[in-house]
Amino acid sequence: MESKPEAIITRLVFPARSIAASLFLVLPLTAVESGVAVPGAAAVPADSGTTLLERLRLEAHGFVSFGYLRTWENNWLGDDTIDGTGEFYEAALNAIARPANRLRIGAQLFTRDLVSYDNGRVEVDWAYADYRVADELGISLGRVKVPFGLYNETLDVDSARTPIFLPQFYPLRARDRQLSVDGGKVYGLVGIGDLGSLEYAVYGGDKHYADESSTVQQLGEFGFGEDPDVDTDWIAGGVVEWNTPLTGLALRLSLWCYEDFVISGVRPGGATADSETDSTFSVVSAVYERSAVTVACEWAHLRNSGEAVFTPPGLTVSLDDELDSVYLALTWHAKPWLDLYLAGDITEARREFFGDQHGYRAVAAVAVRPAEHLTLKLEAQHNDGTLGIAAADNPQGVAQHWQAVALKATVDF
């Protein structure tokens, strides 16, 4: 009786440096490309005895991080960081099931305490159903994360990066502001032959901001009174990433827009504050991963247009603001358990009403992974500028130059 191959082996070969080796290697590569490279099959009999969880393909993952933050000269993210604070944790728990081919459903709960922000509030980070029609087309519906820049989708995935804090243009206080939308996303991967491949995503939807969310809290601190009402008509955007023929080099363009972002609040004393703005946020990103080094560079430009009215006295102010930010980051993967990171970040905000501000930041960080699911990090920053510093947190006066050191331990599963 003829044996039927039950597993398929595909040989893959890569250009070798020596001519002799190349001679050997061309033949199987040709065979692979012509689709006939099934030279023999290791017949590993399929095992049909699977559990229910395996049939649902159900997975659960999570992480928890605890940290410590200490600053010098200015309080940052709260009013007590000069004394040092341990109010600095994050945790997430998710479940993903793949009950049918092409279909994936999942949800993640997230909580954090970022000094004076969120304070342990639990929120649904994402919850979606995803159908992958083909490599070129996938559709997600629900609360979907927003791809934006290199890191917006992974703002909280501390264990997967070396620094503790992301570059300045990524939302830190108001993490929920552009983290996700309640709507949908269409995405895919398109091969472009010898030029590599293109990944794309287009998304759109609405966003609800809970009263206790960090976005609402931050807008209140900006002068809109306690717990202002925040709403937006719609949010939309997209990314396209070119995975270039140069292995490890990817270029990405991101765009994020929202229309009629409306804030209505009551300031101390009873005056009302109402604003309406449209925003466009664009990012150009480049990342190069090669051997033990990763280089990342991004340039971001935010443009807001709109106005705010304070009644009384009936004062109308322009909110036509712009922000430009650029950073260069270098990560050296010195050992499988050790990453070193250096970055320089220049961010400038031009605001008609609130005034211009800048934040120039130099960052050094180290991540140590003594075990597969444990990450320990140390980050040091030197900052020139007051961007991101709240005067209310610094009754002693705001300093132009300030420093921060953060420690963090993350366990994931």
Partner: protein, 134 residues
Amino acid sequence: MRRLVLIALVLICVAPASAQVAVTHPAVPEHALHHARLRDILLGRVTTWDDGTPIVIILVEEADDAAATARLSGRDLGRLLRGWKRLVYAGSGAMPLVVSSARDALEEVRRRPGALTVLALAPVDPAEHVVPEQ
């Protein structure tokens, strides 16, 4: 047949420095993979086979096999897994399974529809029933 003999020679003479083998579950519909597509799979850009079966990636910790995966993906095992953590916590993927040896990897490939693993060398254990080219 002659070409297949040459392929075997490649494995004997050149591997493991520059050759690697991808092994899939029997039901996987794709009989050949270009290295670019395999790289896309390992990096999480492609998550399903052509027939819609989810791809289940089995990564091997053994040095030679891990090196074979690194040659394909451009990332060592640790960085590859950190990349997958980014996808998993962003809701974009399901975590690869990590096993300690090629033998364990083959066991998992056998058990899981859609499974794929990358090894430094084709399995030669006599227990694995190698079917000759017809």
